[in-house]
Structure formats: structure tokens, C-alpha cells
């Protein structure tokens, strides 16, 4: 089901074209969308855009500043910074998107169960979610990665585990409030089964906010991955994660500041783009949600 | 209208909402006046513009709303164009408003006593001592029928029932003895017996304080019980005005007739209720000619071309070509109902 089909507030059923128009109409939305589209282009066409293989080392050329051969210079192993940053986009999104999607699905299932079944199931799940959320994310991440070992796959798992509880809580709240609506009782009066009620009448009405949260969480996930990689417990070299580029660049910042600047800018622009897009989506669908603020759920 | 100046004088009021670059007229050429101490009813169904009217009177139109033309005079003073600070002083002090839903009109986290004191402090400033303000508030609560007002002064809104909350809201509105009270559907959320109590309360308050009241409602029977004069609105315009007795006995405008005929009662058992087919015209597609033409029993071709003027008729006013000799409407009308 695409974004186009189902807004949260029925009053504004927004099919695809109208949705696009609404987003583009707002300056933040336009900018955010442009950035995200550019990032997607970079991800898809990375081999074409990057002048060098990101892992190609050339020790004699190491730690150079920007030049005709290397747009942003090279890092300490002579690898072209520009190419590494471009491939870094792939890493960032390859971690963030599956991770956030995974968190959303897990959280969705848990929240649905908690909200609809209620009773002891609800209480049990709340305890689980609360416990997970009680840990500072970094501590939780470090603990898990120590146990699991540092790798791209494990970073995804860690992000799923730490983001899922907040999705769970949001879904649970939405289910609880949707459950109270008269149309649910109307369906029961017609003899509808629980499965039908949940599948046809509850889920479609709570899916839309999920997409908004997704858009807003992707930059967070990217940042988490970058941070973990920066600390050395995330993606391992030579994979060109922006966080790794940052950390390697940090050590050599006096020789060339460009890795730090480049990776920093990349992170900043990506985060900004997704956040602006996400907030615009939120405003388009339901201006009331904007009261929650950017960090509303945490 | 007496010889002396009316308390509220509205002339040719026009209000527009700016939506997506277009201007939609929500009120067109609305005119009426209210004498001091009079209870004036505004009746209409959804979409007629009565909420816009109440917002315009108290200066609380939303950000995209604007009074594009006309004038509102309170006690001779022009309200249109007043600055925000002046409007704020006016509100509560000379004009007060009561809304439909008492649940949301009171801040649930603040004790009612505090809210009552706040209202006074905002307007009277440091002029009075707290003890005086409290006494005034308690007196007001008692007057609107809250038992044990002094003991309950420190209670929170949720500790009162719906009917009581509505009374508290009215008390808050009248604390500073405004000369005009705007009541927007004040009884619509209340049950019949509570509504009856509230109607008596309004009449008693008018008697005790001489406040003029604009009573907005979609319910004709309520208006007939509490108002002296009334105005019927349709599609952003005033279509009929007069004293309540006359309007009920002899409705002039076809819409008023239809409204009155559509109220169900046991007297009509077994008969079909009169209905008004069609829908209210949308703001974005105003018609030439009479806005009611598509739904009117008495429509003639002239009504689709000529917009009716608001004309006087036997001490009342009506916006309908039937009653305007210059309109070209073929008189006499099809039925002898102008008797």
C-alpha cells in the first residue's frame, strides 16, 4: 500500500498526485524532497558517479587536499574521499532503511497485540517495551554489539531493537483510540470477526502515521549508525561508512580536514533532508500531530 | 428599534475567508441592530454563517478570515479596525461570549475560582483587592444557580456536571457586566430539562443585569422561547428578521416557512414532514440571483437572475423577491400565504 492510499485523518483523503503537490507546495517539503531524491540518485548511480573505487588505495597520494584528480582529496590510505562519500550514502541508507522498516514492523506487531488484546498481554508487552526504552540507546547498542560482534548486519539488529519500542507505543495508542470508534462497534454488530476488524478496519486507519515516523526516523538511524561506526563498534573498515570516515578523519584532521568536513556535511544534509520531508508529510496529513514536536515520541 | 441609539449596530457586514489564494465570502451584507437589554436570536442551519458572525462580532476570526466590508458599532463605537489590545480590553469587559461546549470552555487544570479571579484581574487590574474580587465572583456563581458557591470556589471543572459547567461559563462571561453577551449554541449540548433551566437563567440574567444577548442557535423552538426578536440566516445572508411572535405566526421567507414546517411534532403523525431538497450552496460557487432559488417552492425565473434585496415589510425585513415590488416577481404569489 503506497503512501497515496491512506491518510490518518479521513477528512483529507489524499491520492498520490495531490499528496505530491501538497509536499512540493511547502518550501521545506520541496527542499527535503529534492535532497532525498538526490540521495536516492546517488545510491542508485554510485558506480557511475564515483570516479574511483572507494577501496582503491594509493599510498603515495595519501592525505592530499582537493585537486583536479581528487575532488575532495584523499584519506590516509590514499583512497579518494569523494568516492568514499558517495558509496557512504549506500551504506547509510542500506543500514537505516531496513533497520527502521524492521523496527516499524516489530513495533507494529507488538503494539497491535498490546492495544487490541489488552489485558495481561498488554501489561506484559508494556513491561518489555519500557525496559528496552529505559536503557540509554548508546549503552544498549554497545552492550548488544559486544555480544553479537560488530558488523553492518548487527548494527541493523541493534537499531531495530532500540527503535521498535517507540513504534510499539505509538501503534498501541493508535489502536486503543481507534478501537473506541463507533464504526468498530458497527462492524461487530454486523457479525465481523476479530481478524476482519483488525485487518480491515483498524490497521488501515493507523498505518499512515507510520510512514511519517519512518521518514523522521531514517535520519536518526543514520546518525546512530554513524555514531557507532565512529566509536568503532559499528561497520568495520574498509566499508565506507560516514561515521568511519569521520573517525579516521578525526585522527588526521591536522593533515587534511576534508574527511571530517565532507562526512560531516554529508550527514548533516542527509539528516536535514529526511527530517524536512518527514515534517512536511506530518503537516500535510494532520497538522495536529505537529504539537508532538520532533522528539515527541521519545 | 427605539429612537435612541441601538447598542449593537451592524451594517452591510461582509466577511471573507482566504483559502488557497481565493477569497470565499462567508457573510454578505448582513445587517441588524440590537437595543440594550434585548435578546436577539440568530437562527440558521449549518453553513449559514452564524458562527462566522459571532466570531466577527467579538473579533476572533481565524487568521485567514477578514472583515472585508461593512461596520460593527457597539454603543456608537466602530469595532472594525480596532487594534488587538483594544479588542482584548473590549472582550470580557463589554462583549462576552459563551460557547456550546462547557467541557472545553474551562481550563481543566485550573480551579474555577482562580479562573473567575483571573478574568477580573485582567480587566480591573490592581484596582480591587482580592477579597472584593472573590466576593463578586461568589455572588455571581450564586446568581447563576451554583449551590454552595463559596465552598465550591476552589473546585476544579471536572468536579461539576455539564449543566453546572455551563453556568460557570456564563458566570465568567457576566462577571464584568458586559453590555453584550454572545451565546453561540449555548444549549445545544444540553438535555431538554437542562436546556429549559438555562433558558430561564438567560431571561433572569437579562432581567437582573440588563445585558443584551445575541442568542445563536439552529433550534427554532429554543429561540422562540427566549428571544424577543430574531433573524434567520441562509448562505451567509440574513433572509428574514422580526419579532419572534410575528416570524412564527407569519413566516415570510420560503426558507423560514420550510424550517418551521420541518419541525416534527405529534400533530403531524401520519403525515410526511416537509423537507427542503438539495443542499446549501457551497461558498466557492456563489450563484447569481437568489441563493435559495434551487430549493424554493415559489421559485420563478427572475429569482435566478436577480439577487433579492433586504426590504422592509410590515415592520420586519425579508430578503425575497416576492415581497419586493420592484423585483419583477409575478405577484400575487401562488398561495395566499402572505396573510
Amino acid at each position: 500500500m503506497s503512501l497515496a492510499a491512506s491518510p490518518a485523518r479521513p477528512r483529507r483523503a489524499v491520492p498520490g498526485a495531490a499528496l505530491l503537490r501538497e509536499v512540493v507546495r511547502r518550501p521545506n517539503g520541496l527542499l527535503g524532497l529534492s535532497i532525498v531524491v538526490c540521495l536516492l540518485v546517488v545510491v542508485v548511480f554510485a558506480p557511475l558517479l564515483a570516479p574511483y573505487d572507494p577501496s582503491a588505495q594509493a599510498i603515495p597520494d595519501r592525505l592530499e587536499g582537493p585537486s583536479l584528480h581528487h575532488l575532495l582529496g584523499t584519506d590516509e590510505l590514499g583512497r579518494d574521499l569523494f568516492s568514499r562519500l558517495i558509496y557512504g550514502t549506500r551504506i547509510a541508507l542500506a543500514v537505516a532503511v531496513p533497520a527502521v522498516l524492521g523496527a516499524m514492523i516489530c513495533g507494529f506487531v507488538l503494539g497491535l497485540a498490546a492495544g487490541y488484546i489488552s489485558g495481561w498481554v498488554d501489561s506484559a508487552l508494556i513491561v518489555v517495551m519500557d525496559t528496552l526504552q529505559a536503557f540509554p540507546a548508546v549503552v544498549l547498542a554497545l552492550a548488544l554489539l559486544t555480544v553479537l560482534g560488530a558488523s553492518l548486519r548487527n548494527v541493523i539488529i541493534v537499531i531495530v531493537v532500540s527503535f521498535a519500542p517507540s513504534y510499539g507505543r505509538v501503534v498501541r495508542a493508535l489502536v486503543l483510540s481507534t478501537k473506541e470508534n463507533p464504526f468498530i462497534e458497527a462492524e461487530r454488530a454486523l457479525g465481523a470477526s476479530t481478524l476482519r476488524i483488525v485487518g480491515m478496519h483498524i490497521v488501515p486507519n493507523i498505518v499512515a502515521p507510520m510512514f511519517i515516523l519512518l521518514a523522521m526516523d531514517i535520519p536518526s538511524a543514520i546518525t546512530v549508525e554513524a555514531g557507532l561506526s565512529f566509536l568503532g563498534v559499528g561497520v568495520q573498515p574498509p566499508t565506507p561508512s560516514w561515521g568511519l570516515i569521520l573517525s579516521e578523519g578525526f585522527d588526521r584532521v591536522r593533515d587534511t580536514p576534508w574527511p571530517v568536513i565532507g562526512a560531516g556535511l554529508a550527514l548533516m544534509i542527509t539528516t536535514l533532508g529526511f527530517t524536512m520531508l518527514g515534517e512536511t508529510l506530518r503537516d500535510v496529513f494532520d497538522p495536529r500531530l505537529s504539537r508532538l514536536g520532533r522528539w515527541g515520541r521519545r | 428599534m427605539t429612537g435612541s441609539q441601538p447598542l449593537l449596530d451592524v451594517r452591510q457586514l461582509e466577511v471573507a475567508y482566504h483559502v488557497r489564494g481565493r477569497s470565499l465570502l462567508a457573510l454578505r451584507g448582513v445587517e441588524f441592530d440590537i437595543a440594550a437589554g434585548e435578546i436577539f436570536g440568530v437562527v440558521g442551519e449549518s453553513g449559514c454563517g452564524k458562527s462566522t458572525l459571532s466570531a466577527a462580532l467579538i473579533g476572533l476570526l481565524p487568521a485567514n478570515g477578514e472583515i472585508t466590508s461593512g461596520s460593527i458599532r457597539l454603543d456608537g463605537r466602530e469595532l472594525r479596525g480596532l487594534g488587538r489590545r483594544e479588542l482584548r480590553q473590549l472582550r470580557g469587559g463589554q462583549i462576552a461570549m459563551v460557547f456550546q461546549d462547557p467541557l472545553t470552555s474551562l481550563n481543566p487544570t485550573i480551579r474555577i475560582g482562580t479562573q473567575l479571579l483571573d478574568v477580573q484581574r485582567a480587566h480591573l487590574g490592581g484596582q480591587r483587592r482580592r477579597g472584593d474580587l472573590r466576593r463578586r465572583a461568589v455572588e455571581m456563581l450564586t446568581q447563576v444557580g451554583i449551590p454552595d458557591a463559596s465552598e465550591r470556589f476552589g473546585d476544579y471543572p471536572h468536579q461539576f456536571s455539564g449543566g453546572m459547567r455551563q453556568r460557570i461559563v456564563i458566570a465568567m462571561a457576566l462577571l464584568l457586566r458586559p453590555s453584550l453577551l454572545i451565546a453561540d449554541e449555548p444549549t445545544s449540548a444540553l438535555d431538554a430539562t437542562l436546556e429549559a433551566q438555562m433558558i430561564e437563567l438567560f431571561k433572569q440574567l437579562r432581567h437582573d443585569f440588563g445585558t443584551a444577548i445575541v442568542f445563536i442557535s439552529h433550534d427554532l423552538t429554543v429561540v422562540s422561547q427566549v428571544c424577543d426578536r430574531m433573524m434567520v440566516m441562509y448562505a451567509g445572508q440574513a433572509v428574514e428578521e422580526g419579532d419572534v411572535q410575528s416570524v412564527f405566526r407569519e413566516p415570510l421567507h420560503p426558507y423560514t416557512k420550510a424550517l418551521l414546517a420541518a419541525v416534527p411534532s405529534r400533530n403531524q403523525r401520519g403525515e410526511r414532514l416537509a423537507t427542503i431538497p438539495g443542499r446549501v450552496p457551497s461558498l466557492s460557487a456563489p450563484s447569481d440571483g437568489c441563493a435559495f432559488a434551487d430549493r424554493c417552492t415559489f421559485v420563478q425565473p427572475v429569482n435566478r437572475e436577480r439577487e433579492p434585496h433586504y426590504v422592509a415589510w410590515n415592520g420586519r425585513r425579508v430578503r425575497c423577491n416576492i415581497y419586493d415590488p420592484t423585483s419583477g416577481y409575478q405577484s400575487p404569489p401562488r398561495r395566499e400565504d402572505v396573510s
Binding site: 464504526f183 458497527a186 454488530a189 | 431538554a192 429549559a196 427566549v226 412564527f248 420550510a258 400533530n267
Partner: protein, 351 residues
């Protein structure tokens, strides 16, 4: 309209109690609904009338008591039997828009009752047929609920309820939230359908005018119990319960000269969590005496088919018979002049 069916009533309630924790929403109701009649259940908020309707449909739990439909005890049934029975009893909910699933088109919403209940094709109405029954054009089928007006949404709700060809329909506040003109049209529709489809109705409302117009019999409910039950004319002309009296006088009819002195009852309805002992109404009743505080009145007959739960109903009836002299007060609130219905005729209906 009221056909007395020689056998049992269609719906029979005996000592029905519905409690939600401490809240005694329905606290001992005995009521019969006869086949083919329109029964109006009148009460204000807190009376328990909506809960009673939902309890009959098993949407609210029956704490104790007995509900029989067509002779069958509803509490005996298992899930499958209940589902089959549900097809014969349907409900139209109060809020027209929020009782329709917002994400689904009208055409699907009209088909859904059949899908849920696995109704064979030859027993189904098409969406067009259902819309036609409620006087909507077939164009409405492609719309979403939020695209419909209040009146249209309510009609769709009625169409959905009719899809399974029920015999018994509960209408919860059929005119709430509707403008006067739309409300009249819905009442006309309900009347027509009752005749065409031979339906039995339970109309739940706080609006005395609606029951006065539609209902054959009226049951007045207060704080979980029935105050008075009887034929419409009898109850409206000569109410025997003080609450009914007050309710009627709070809504004066146009043309009734005697209603200028309204019988206001003081105070508000007590909480259902803590109903007053003895007669529920005694805290607000002008006729209350000691017996009212200690002894709960039961329904007793006052006229053919007309019962009341009041110790002092004779006094009440005497008072309503003696119409208060027409003290016409001047100014606002005077007598409402009679409305001349012959002066207005609806233009031809346009779907």
C-alpha cells in the same frame, strides 16, 4: 401500525441489568416490544437508554436478567447461533460519520454485511438497490464516508442495517447532529421503510418531538429504570410520572397555549454510580414524600396499556389534566403561535 401478534412479543426484556463496574447503566428493566410497532425509548443523558439498546444486541454485556428475541433466550446462544440471529436485529448508530469505517468506499461498506455473513448471491441486494431504498443516488457508492453529508451518511448507515433484511431495527438518535431539514427527511424515510419492509423499531432518543411523531408507544427512562410506558397519545396527553411531565413541558409544542408556565425541575440527573435510594427520581420530584425515599416504585397500570412507576401517579395525572391557565407572559418566551403547515409544501424531491 401496531399489530398485536397473538403470540409472544418480538423482544422481551425481563429484569435486565447492565453494569459497568460501579456504574449501573440499566438497573432492572422489564419491557416488551411487539412485532410491527414503533417503540420510542426516551430519556436524557445518563438514563441508560443507549446502553439498553446495545445490550439487546449483545454489544454490551448483560449483567443479569433475560432477553428473549422471538421466544429465544439470547444468553443461551453460542457464537454461531448468535451470528445468525444478528441478521434479524440491526442497529443504526448515533453518529453518522464515525459509524462508517473511514477508509472504505460506500460500495464496499454496503457489500460487507454479505461478505461477513456469507450470504448467497441470490439473497443479496446490490449496492444500487440498497441506496435506492434509502433514497440516495447510485453515485454515492463510489464515495468515502467523509465525502458524504450528515444526512447521506446516516442513510448509508440505515442501508447497511437493512442489507441483511432484519425484522427489528434499533435507531439510536436518528436525527442527532442533523439540520432540521435533513432530520425531517430521515424521519420520513424511517416511516416509509417501516411500512414497506414491515419492520419493528426501537427508536432511542432524547427528543420528545421525534417520538411524538414516529412512535406508537413511548417508554420513558430515568437513571437506568423505566418511569412510564404507554401508547403515545396517552403518555403525551396525560403523563402519569413527574419526570415525563417535566420533560414534556420543557419542550413546548407550537400552538399549545397552556405551556407558558413551564414545570422546571431543579438540579441535574444524579450519577448512575450512586443512584438515590428508593425512587430514583425523588431528589428532584415535586411530589416526593417519605415513601419515595425508601421504597422503589414498580410499574403499575394507570390506563389500558399504560403503566407508570410512581407512588403518587394519581396526583400527577390530576395535575396534568388541569391545564395551567394560559398565563401569557409578554416578551420573549411567550406562547409559540401555531404553525400553519398548509402554507408550505416541499418542492419535488430531487435525489
Amino acid at each position: 401500525m401496531s399489530t398485536s401478534d397473538g403470540g409472544h412479543p418480538l423482544v422481551r426484556l425481563r429484569n435486565v441489568h447492565t453494569r459497568f463496574g460501579a456504574v449501573r447503566a440499566v438497573d432492572g428493566v422489564d419491557l416488551d416490544i411487539r412485532r410491527g410497532e414503533i417503540l420510542g425509548l426516551v430519556g436524557e443523558s445518563g438514563s441508560g437508554k443507549t446502553t439498553l439498546g446495545r445490550t439487546i444486541l449483545r454489544l454490551a454485556p448483560l449483567t443479569s436478567g433475560r432477553i428473549e428475541y422471538d421466544g429465544q433466550d439470547l444468553s443461551d446462544l453460542n457464537r454461531r447461533q448468535l451470528r445468525r440471529l444478528r441478521r434479524r436485529l440491526q442497529i443504526v448508530f448515533q453518529d453518522p460519520h464515525s459509524s462508517l469505517s473511514p477508509r472504505l468506499k460506500v460500495s464496499y461498506l454496503l457489500k460487507e454485511p454479505y461478505t461477513i455473513n456469507k450470504v448467497p448471491d441470490d439473497e443479496r441486494y446490490t449496492a444500487a438497490e440498497l441506496l435506492d431504498m434509502v433514497e440516495l443516488s447510485s453515485e454515492q457508492a463510489a464515495k468515502y464516508p467523509h465525502e458524504l453529508s450528515g444526512g447521506q451518511a446516516r442513510r448509508v448507515g440505515i442501508a447497511r442495517a437493512l442489507a441483511l433484511r432484519p425484522e427489528f431495527l434499533i435507531a439510536d438518535e436518528p436525527t442527532a447532529g442533523l439540520d432540521v431539514s435533513a432530520a425531517g427527511a430521515i424521519l420520513n424515510l424511517l416511516n416509509d421503510l417501516a411500512g414497506q419492509l414491515r419492520l419493528t423499531y426501537l427508536i432511542i432518543t432524547h427528543n420528545v418531538n421525534v417520538v411524538g411523531y414516529l412512535a406508537d408507544r413511548i417508554a420513558v427512562m430515568y437513571l437506568g429504570r423505566l418511569a412510564e410506558v404507554g401508547p403515545t397519545a396517552s403518555v403525551l396527553d396525560a403523563p402519569a410520572h413527574p419526570y415525563t411531565q417535566a420533560l414534556l413541558s420543557a419542550v413546548p409544542q407550537p400552538g399549545e397555549a397552556g405551556t407558558t408556565r413551564r414545570l422546571l425541575i431543579a438540579g441535574e440527573i444524579p450519577s448512575p454510580k450512586n443512584p438515590p435510594p428508593g425512587c430514583r427520581f425523588h431528589t428532584r420530584c415535586p411530589y416526593a414524600e417519605d415513601r419515595s425515599r425508601t421504597e422503589m416504585p414498580e410499574l403499575q397500570p394507570v390506563a389500558p396499556g399504560h403503566t407508570v412507576a410512581c407512588h403518587y401517579w394519581q396526583k400527577v395525572r390530576d395535575a396534568s389534566a388541569v391545564s395551567p391557565a394560559a398565563e401569557k407572559t409578554q416578551g420573549g418566551g411567550g406562547c409559540i403561535p401555531p404553525i400553519d403547515h398548509s402554507s408550505y409544501e416541499s418542492p419535488k424531491e430531487d435525489r
